[in-house]
């Protein structure tokens, strides 16, 4: 699903100058790079790749008994030198892929390698794209790792890409009628228009029954061709996740301060529901 076709998106998010794509040695970087490049084209922004070297991996490799178990080779010793070589190789691959995407779309681009948690520093005009899950072991088992925490909290709007095929619905989770919620709603509507998807607004039961809220939503989306459906959200986070899963969700849009605020929880929702997550500042 191409989520990045909305021209008006810039007006909603405002002043995007750089798409920062977070890369590492264990994530599926192709979808993230492709999405970042498309967004950069839409917003006429530069493309900046940040390859994060996993600090935990480097520490592990320094231990005398460190071993790595893989499907291809079984158990083998892991030394600091090997880890460094592998990280360099993956970084080079990521750099080439980013450069190729930039060339294809005629974008300005840059690339840097950083080290450790919260190492990616962002500016006000940055929009961050990251992959939500690691490459799987076999076809199914994915394990969360440090790099997704490489982006410092509150750095900017963020799109967490899910590596698996997405659904066809944009779901917006709202808890109030604040201006930030309005921006999320509009952004979600624009993504839905661009992808020819339907839009579902999920909110607290009380709000869902409120006619003024319904009017407020209609007013905010008057300029868009999508017709949202308002549903009440289950209070329990697990129930909310199941509910979203049942909606065939492709993109989940949240305000930065919306619940769940914990990045790990959001990531869990992304992997659990199989959808991308847009976090709006």
């Amino acid at each position: 699903m191409a989520w990045c076709g909305a021209w008006r998106f810039a007006a909603v998010i405002g002043g995007i100058e750089r798409i920062v794509v977070s890369l590492d040695a264990v994530s599926e970087i192709h979808a993230a790079i492709a999405a970042a490049a498309r967004l950069a084209v839409r917003w006429n922004a530069a493309l900046h790749g940040v390859f994060v070297e996993d600090e935990d991996l480097l520490r592990l490799a320094g231990l005398p008994f460190a071993r790595q178990v893989s499907l291809g080779a079984g158990a083998e010793a892991l030394t600091a030198a090997q880890a460094a070589r592998q990280l360099r190789a993956f970084a080079e691959t990521a750099r080439r892929e980013l450069a190729a995407a930039a060339r294809r779309h005629d974008l300005r681009w840059s690339f840097e390698i950083v080290h450790g948690a919260a190492a990616v520093t962002t500016a006000a005009g940055d929009f961050i794209v990251a992959c939500a899950a690691s490459r799987p072991i076999g076809a199914h088992f994915r394990i969360d790792t440090q790099p997704r925490r490489a982006v410092a909290p509150g750095s900017g709007s963020l799109l967490l890409m899910h590596p698996v095929r997405a659904g066809r619905t944009v779901v917006t989770v709202l808890h109030d009628r604040e201006p930030a919620s309005g921006r999320v709603l509009e952004a979600a509507a624009q993504f839905a228009e661009a992808a020819d998807a339907s839009l579902v607004v999920v909110c607290a039961s009380k709000l869902a029954r409120d006619k003024r809220f319904e009017a407020w939503v209609g007013e905010r989306l008057a300029a868009y061709s999508v017709h949202p459906r308002i549903e009440s959200a289950p209070g329990d986070p697990a129930a909310l996740q199941r509910h979203i899963l049942g909606l065939d969700c492709g993109l989940l849009a949240l305000a930065e301060d919306a619940e769940p605020a914990d990045p790990d929880r959001r990531r869990e929702i992304a992997t659990g529901t199989g959808c991308d997550i847009l976090v709006m500042r």
């Binding site: 893989s70 190789a89 690691s134 490459r135």
Partner: protein, 826 residues
């Protein structure tokens, strides 16, 4: 002069004409007219068409027999010249027969799902091949709609999610339990670039090497042992992952198969129901079903780009999706519109046009092929019926003959490349299943080729047991003349020409006799007659006439000759200008006017030339100068050697032939063959020996045997006309004419102007039977018959020749006597 007198006023039909050797032939023997008054119609449209070709009963019977004979090898070779109407006759016969025979089946090639390199052939009742093709196309289209819908349905997705969840949970539970177990011991499970690893953890982070070293030794050892223990479990679990994945794929495949089976079952059943009585088709449809189930993804993916778009080669049809080509039906023979058995004529019989070919498509810079690119040949199209081929084209074509023989011998059609046929190394290509062959082949070719093949190709007599020998001429009886008129009427009708009146038809029949070169025969060359009719029709059109008369036919004949007579006119012109020396008046010793025929394309004309002889002392040899310089062919040389035989037989029993003679066609610069000048050469030689001058007003044609008998030759009409035209250049004079073999009189169909000159006594045609008759005519001296002692009457030609030979012998003996012992006389 030895007279052989024949009597009679004119030849009854079919019999030799009678005539008097002592006088020039009367005009009525120089041209046998077809009297229009004897034709029982005014316009040819009144006539019923002639039934096929005329006078070809033997060939027709042979063809009919071969058609009835349904055994191997009873194919037909139709011997005859081009333009005789053989092909039309045979096609008519075969079509008539074919109408009563069953329509052969349709043939198609389909994919072999076990080995795509060897496509399968399917045979379906006539007309059902196209329906099968359409049914398969419809099936694929419906599958492309039905299958994605089946896989989009909620129940499928729910089942798929159950499977996905089941396997996801299995791995998550296993790894999750391990992870939980590890974390309970302060050990983190990490994702590394290549796999997984275990590391001691403190405060949510992996312990650094420095901090680990700072730990007490027993704690380090414990941690390390714990990590090793968990790592063993991790390794065991990692070994399970491929098994889980395999199980997962198998479960998904089974789900897809079940879903597909349910979705396609009724669609395939519909197709099957139409072909229950055809086990091979049912077998194929089962293979299709298996393949669809194994390749469901092809139907679920979005349409692919058409193949072959990036390079030269046959363009793929619009909307053609390479993924579904294997389900298509390549209908190579569609007999849906056929009435009876097919009768096919292949104009360009090569290996590929007979046995079919395998085309290629350019795809991504490489040539690829599949069963859809198998193209049929004439053998496919004619299978179950009749195939007509031109034998000369077949043998000249690219391995067409080898391909045909192979197919007929094996009783099957193998479509393969030339490289495969010749067992040459080739790229990997298809090897289509052979198709059973049951047809009758008719080769149309000249007789010479038939005899050549019979003698040099062992397989030919086995494969072509029936020879249909076509006549190139028929007897000119009254019945045949009327039949010929009906043939003219048939051609006029078929070619949609103007109506020919009775006189025009009569003139056409006369021309048919001229084409046959015989008063008593008519040419069966339909092409020549058809050309004449068409051209006469055009002249009538040019003149604004509604009907074609004898004048138009006459003009068309003259125009035909005129169009091709440039060289003939040039020769005549040079004779007139004395560049080519030809004497038509006066007398000469050892010189006679001979006649040859030059054939250029369809035109033949007579070419008069001086033949001279010189004699001298020698050992009885007659030298053919033409042969010495390799301009004379073997038949000409044979004729000259016969002269020596004649001389020896007549004069050599009482004296040695102590002479050498040389003979030559003067001013002849090209090759010459045939023995039709041997009589003229003998006359020149005898003239030289007798020192008796020959009248140059005569030209001579005829061959001679060793006993002095004059024998028939070919082209007598053209030769006479050639000399007539040469004489006319300086005005016809008394005594001019041509001496011809008496046995050629029945062949005379001379031009009108020659006949008119003869009728007026200005040009004579003199038939002879013997050398002596000819010499008497040419010299005016009696030849003289040998007496009881072998002596000839004094003063006769033979007496003078014998005396000359005696003188040569005496002179030779005299020279021998004067020669030194052991010497030689040359």
């Amino acid at each position: 002069m030895a007279q052989q007198r024949r009597t009679g006023d004119g030849p009854p039909p079919g019999e030799d004409p009678t005539f008097d050797l002592a006088v020039p032939l009367p005009a009525d023997l120089l041209y046998r007219r077809c009297d229009p008054d004897h034709l029982p119609f005014d316009l040819c449209t009144e006539l019923v068409d002639a039934p096929g070709l005329i006078g070809q009963e033997r060939a027709t019977e042979a063809v009919r027999f071969a058609v009835r004979m349904r055994r191997k090898g009873y194919n037909i070779y139709a011997l005859g010249d081009r333009g005789a109407g053989r092909q039309q006759l045979i096609e008519d016969l075969l079509r008539h027969q074919a109408e009563t025979e069953p329509i052969p089946p349709d043939w198609c090639y389909v994919n072999n799902f076990v080995d795509p390199q060897q496509p399968r052939c399917l045979s379906l009742p006539a007309g059902r091949g196209a329906a099968f093709d359409a049914a398969m196309k419809r099936l694929v289209e419906e599958l492309r709609a039905t299958l994605p819908a089946a896989f989009e349905r909620d129940d499928y997705r729910a089942r798929q999610q159950v499977i996905e969840q089941q396997f996801k949970e299995r791995s998550e539970q296993a790894f999750g339990a391990l992870q939980q177990h590890a974390e309970g011991r302060g050990i983190a499970l990490l994702r590394t670039p290549m796999g997984l690893a275990l590391a001691p953890k403190r405060d949510g982070r992996v312990v650094s090497p420095e901090d680990f070293e700072a730990l007490p030794a027993d704690q380090r050892e414990r941690t390390q042992r714990e990590i090793e223990g968990i790592q063993g479990e991790l390794e065991a679990m990692m070994r399970q992952v491929p098994l889980w994945e395999r199980e997962h794929r198998g479960a998904l495949r089974a789900l897809n198969r079940d879903t597909a089976a349910f979705a396609i079952g009724h669609l395939l059943e519909d197709v099957r129901n139409g072909y229950r009585e055809l086990p091979a088709v049912i077998d194929y449809l089962e293979a299709v079903e298996r393949d669809i189930k194994e390749n469901i993804d092809d139907f679920l993916a979005p349409p692919a780009a058409p193949p072959g778009a990036e390079g030269p080669g046959p363009a793929a049809p619009p909307g053609d999706d390479a993924r579904f080509r294997r389900y298509r039906v390549n209908l190579i023979v569609d007999n849906g519109a056929q009435k009876g058995a097919p009768v096919i004529y292949e104009d360009n019989p090569t290996h590929q046009t007979l046995a079919g070919r395998i085309d290629n498509l350019a795809r991504f810079g490489a040539l690829v092929t599949d069963f859809n690119l198998i193209a049929p040949g004439a053998l496919h199209r004619a299978n179950g019926g009749y195939l007509l081929l031109d034998a000369q084209k077949l043998l000249a074509g690219n391995f067409g003959w080898a391909s045909l023989k192979r197919a007929l011998s094996a009783g099957e059609i193998r479509t393969e490349s030339l490289e495969q046929l010749l067992s040459m190394p080739s790229t990997v290509t298809l090897k289509p299943e052979p198709i059973r062959l049951d047809l009758k082949v008719v080769l149309l070719g000249p007789a010479s080729l038939y005899y050549l093949l019979s003698g040099s190709d062992d397989e030919f007599p086995e494969l072509f047991k029936i020879a249909a020998d076509f006549e190139d001429r028929v007897a000119r009886t009254p019945e045949m003349t009327l039949l010929y008129a009906r043939l003219v009427a048939a051609i006029v009708r078929r070619q949609q020409l103007r109506c020919f009146d009775r006189a025009a038809v009569a003139r056409v029949i006369e021309q048919a006799a001229r084409l046959a070169g015989d008063q008593q025969r008519l040419s069966t060359s339909l092409r020549a007659i058809t050309d004449l009719l068409q051209e006469a029709d055009q002249l009538a059109a040019d003149a604004g006439k509604e009907e074609v008369g004898a004048a138009e036919v006459e003009a068309a004949i003259a125009a035909q000759f005129r169009r091709g007579d440039r060289l003939y006119r040039r020769l005549q012109e040079e004779i007139g200008r004395k560049t080519i020396r030809l004497e038509t008046r006066g007398e000469r010793v050892g010189q006679v006017n001979g006649l040859s025929v030059i054939s250029l394309g369809t035109l033949s004309f007579g070419n008069p030339a001086r033949i001279t002889a010189q004699i001298r002392l020698g050992r009885g040899e007659v030298v053919d100068i033409e042969r010495e310089v390799a301009l004379g062919g073997p038949l000409h040389s044979k004729g000259v050697l016969i002269l020596a035989g004649f001389l020896g037989g007549r004069f050599g029993d009482t004296r040695p032939l102590s002479l050498n003679a040389s003979l030559v066609f003067e001013q002849s610069y090209g090759g010459i063959d045939g023995d039709s000048a041997s009589a003229a050469e003998l006359f020149a030689l005898l003239s030289a020996l007798a020192d008796a001058p020959i009248k140059q007003s005569f030209a001579v044609t005829g061959s001679v045997d060793q006993h002095g008998q004059i024998q028939a030759i070919g082209g007598v009409n053209e030769k006479i006309e050639g000399f007539f035209d040469a004489c006319r250049l300086s005005g016809l004079a008394d005594g001019q004419g041509v001496i011809i073999p008496a046995s050629n009189v029945k062949h005379l169909m001379l031009r009108r102007d020659v006949v008119a000159a003869a009728a007026e006594g200005r040009f004579a045609i003199r038939p002879i039977d013997t050398v002596d008759q000819g010499m008497e005519l040419l010299t005016g001296i009696p030849a003289g018959a040998a007496g009881a002692g072998g002596a000839y009457p004094v003063g006769s030609l033979n007496f003078r020749i014998a005396a000359r030979l005696d003188a040569f012998a005496a002179r030779t003996a005299e020279l021998w006597r004067g020669a030194a012992p052991g010497g030689s006389l040359r």
